[in-house]
Symmetry: C2
Subunit: 249 residues, 2 copies
């Protein structure tokens, strides 16, 4: 048995999320079926994060165990050949020790959320960003976001379906910057609650439009109440960008 | 009669090009039909460049004449409302003097060509870049490209369907740079021949793979013969990025 770590890029649009679902296609199902076609083995994919329906990944980290010997590069090529034409690509593949776990060994997760802030509808970036026509003040969004950085009870920003044992998490980074008519929000933490990034971004968009004052985000956090949530941002702007492991980088 | 200059962004994938075609949908047809729906007038769209089927634009410049008075911002909003759900967006609209012409007043055109250079197939950038799996040497490509800069007979890089009176053009810029696993080729000239950018990029890809030596691009240029063309790059990597006019910028 060999443990292979995969780095996976995918377009989330056609999927019901990364994790296997009873009611629709998932990235996990695609990769497990490709692995079965390549190896003849029934494998289970484990991943650093679970992404919602429509959320994208630039570099999700996953692992699977395979009995047959494979050179990592050959496995990568064979999986990609079987994954076509689904918009899922294995962009890295390496052998890891048996105690390395894509989810449990992961010590950091980073997301980017992409907003296009302009009057005109999106063309090339349709399904790749959240389109907001009203002008956003990115500086005010960044200032407000800093109230969420640190160790807090994030109940306000947690989905009712969240399976985490505790709503207390440490948010390491929540940066908002404008790049032309794009606004990029970068979030990093050891782990996130279900819907946490989209919930934080939704509230930041209200601050950016002036609907919420800069202090209102801190008040929503302190409320520890899902009813204090302003807005949950749509999935198409969200990208899983990095999983960090000890002794990497 | 008022002349309106439009700045247009579009995803070229579903279109048979910018210009009206007898056999399929075009960007011109979409905008003319939207303008008719808004104004009740039959208008003709003129554009800085003609793009092939599948080629994208980030900021194509066009103009049309309208009899009814319109505030530019209202016209922009009304056109965008009628253009939905086609992937065409009016991102700028301004009134110009009657002698301003999107095509004939244009003194500079810029294109970008995007290559993703990696083993894995594309997911999020599918249809937005040319996927080349074999490693490319961007420095060699840039060096070879400089032989094309200047005033030359570009017959080798000209489509058989090109309607330009002369194959002699002045290429102001042809820069190749690597950004991670992306290779970006930036081309600027007063005007280009039909297929010129894609023909130049196709040959540069052969230099990048080592199939052609650095000097071979100069030899192909000197041949002044379409048969000396190495390869015509596919349309999906090409973006029209800028049209320049006197007294702008």
């Amino acid at each position: 048995m060999t443990r292979f770590a995969l780095t996976v890029e995918f377009d989330g649009a056609p999927f019901f999320g990364l994790q296997r679902q009873a009611d629709g296609p998932s990235v996990q199902q695609c990769i497990e079926e490709a692995a079965h076609a390549v190896t003849g083995e029934t494998v289970t994919l484990h991943s650093a994060g679970r992404t919602d329906s429509g959320v994208h990944a630039l570099a999700m980290r996953c692992h699977l165990d395979i009995e047959k010997p494979f050179e990592p590069f050959r496995l990568l090529q064979a999986l990609n050949a079987k994954l076509r034409p689904d918009p899922v690509a294995i962009i890295g593949c390496e052998i890891k020790p048996d105690d390395w776990h894509a989810r449990f060994s992961c010590i950091g997760r980073s997301y980017e959320y992409r907003i296009r802030n302009r009057r005109a509808p999106l063309t090339l970036e349709k399904g790749r960003a959240w389109h907001i026509a009203r002008p956003l003040d990115a500086d005010a969004m960044h200032e407000a976001a800093q109230a969420l950085v640190g160790n807090h009870d994030f109940t306000t920003f947690r989905s009712a379906h969240c399976q985490s044992a505790s709503p207390v998490k440490t948010l390491d980074r929540l940066d908002v910057s404008r790049e032309g008519d794009a606004i990029i929000i970068r979030a990093a933490a050891r782990s996130f609650l279900h819907h946490q990034v989209r919930s934080m971004v939704g509230c930041l968009s209200l601050v950016g439009q002036g609907t919420w004052g800069i202090d209102q985000l801190a008040h929503a956090l302190e409320a520890k109440d899902r009813a204090a949530l302003g807005l949950n941002a749509p999935p198409e702007g969200l990208y899983f960008v990095k999983a960090t492991y000890p002794q990497e980088d």
